[in-house]
Symmetry: C2
Amino acid sequence: MKSEHIPRATIQRLAMYVQVLEDLTRDGTQVVSSELLAKACSVNPSQIRKDLAYFGEFGVRGVGYYVQELNASIKRALGVDRIWNCAIVGVGNLGRALLNHTEFKKRGFYIVGAYDCDPFKIGEDISGLEVMCTKRLKDKVNELGIVIAIITTPPERAQRAANHIIDAGIKAIMNFAPARIDVPSDVCLEYVDFFHHFYALAFNTTLTQRYPESGSGKTSSKPKPDSSLK
Amino acid sequence: MKSEHIPRATIQRLAMYVQVLEDLTRDGTQVVSSELLAKACSVNPSQIRKDLAYFGEFGVRGVGYYVQELNASIKRALGVDRIWNCAIVGVGNLGRALLNHTEFKKRGFYIVGAYDCDPFKIGEDISGLEVMCTKRLKDKVNELGIVIAIITTPPERAQRAANHIIDAGIKAIMNFAPARIDVPSDVCLEYVDFFHHFYALAFNTTLTQRYPESGSGKTSSKPKPDSSLK
DNA sequence: CAGTACACGTTATCATTTTCACAAAAGGTT
DNA sequence: AACCTTTTGTGAAAATGATAACGTGTACTG
């Protein structure tokens, strides 16, 4: 029913539910059952009910879940019913792409600062944001209300970037650089490396081609529930 | 020791090991123990030995693993010891960013085609690649040897893109669009949505701030092994 | 050339996560 | 107003994944 320890997998699924619920909202669907939601997400219906049970009771027995209400509840549970101000550290290809990515604002993650150690980049304007020296991050944290730092440096400079971030007192880091970094235990850290997903895809594809039997050669991950959606 | 069903988590960790092993290679390290590798990856040493055991015996007792050799073995196990030709479907901000991302080629994923349904984009040249109509994908698959399709369309067009891809006979899809899609069971599908990671970060951060006790408010995921690295 | 320390591979144990199964509650129906 | 259908919430069972413990092979030492 409430808190205790919540599996990481649950959090990831909650994020997925939000995605589907927003699709449903756009479609104008009012109510959804765990069964239907489960199908759309390729998970087990009980799974969904269990996941939600960590945070409270959001459904109506015999009816299902009110789409918008559930969506709002999950977002509140995840802590994404607010605005998170972010700074980007490392203005290379990827950093620029993220700065131009409109989805950030839509999802409540506002990029309010861009930092780089390259003197040639400092002063440059990217979609209305002036690139500043990474050393100035510390001064700007309070002024801009930065709570998340996004590392988009080359791998060899990721740790140094992290050090600046930690020094600036920021407690949440999203690391896009393909390198492991060390941070104090009071700092939250997430890695994004989509090549890991590519590796997984390559592996599954190779498997499927070798043993074309069991569906899409899943390793043992997701179930294959029905596979017939509308 | 061999095959059986391999957990998805294992695959993801293997990808991480590769990353660390390549760092070690650059540093000139010859041999690494499961203990050391484990520390660098924040996992349990047994975990690493177990993960590797799915694929064979790669170490030497009393010594450890030869870094380069192990790296090559893992890559072979994952199926990334070859070149995978990819096509990008959807040439928006994100698609362009990926097209310009040099890391793809380094990792063995060659982007050999770019497709979009917008007439204004067709014909455009992006880093040496001519954008073509998505409908032409089918003709080009064999000619270019495309085996992976990358969807970078807006969410509402993701399913249509997927349909074209399936129709073209491609069996592996990497979906960057924030939308669930349906594919036949013989098609491998992976999702990349880094907002899921942002949600997880937001959640953990919120937790940590509420209950600052247990380290970085981990839900229950990774261990916190030692936390002292060099 | 024994002896010893080390680190892997493997089996066994433990913990967590997922699934199953059912009782309780809501809403509609006769 | 009682009944029936539906679908949630939840505890128990099953499956899965992670950790610990142990035995084995390697290399090094004296």
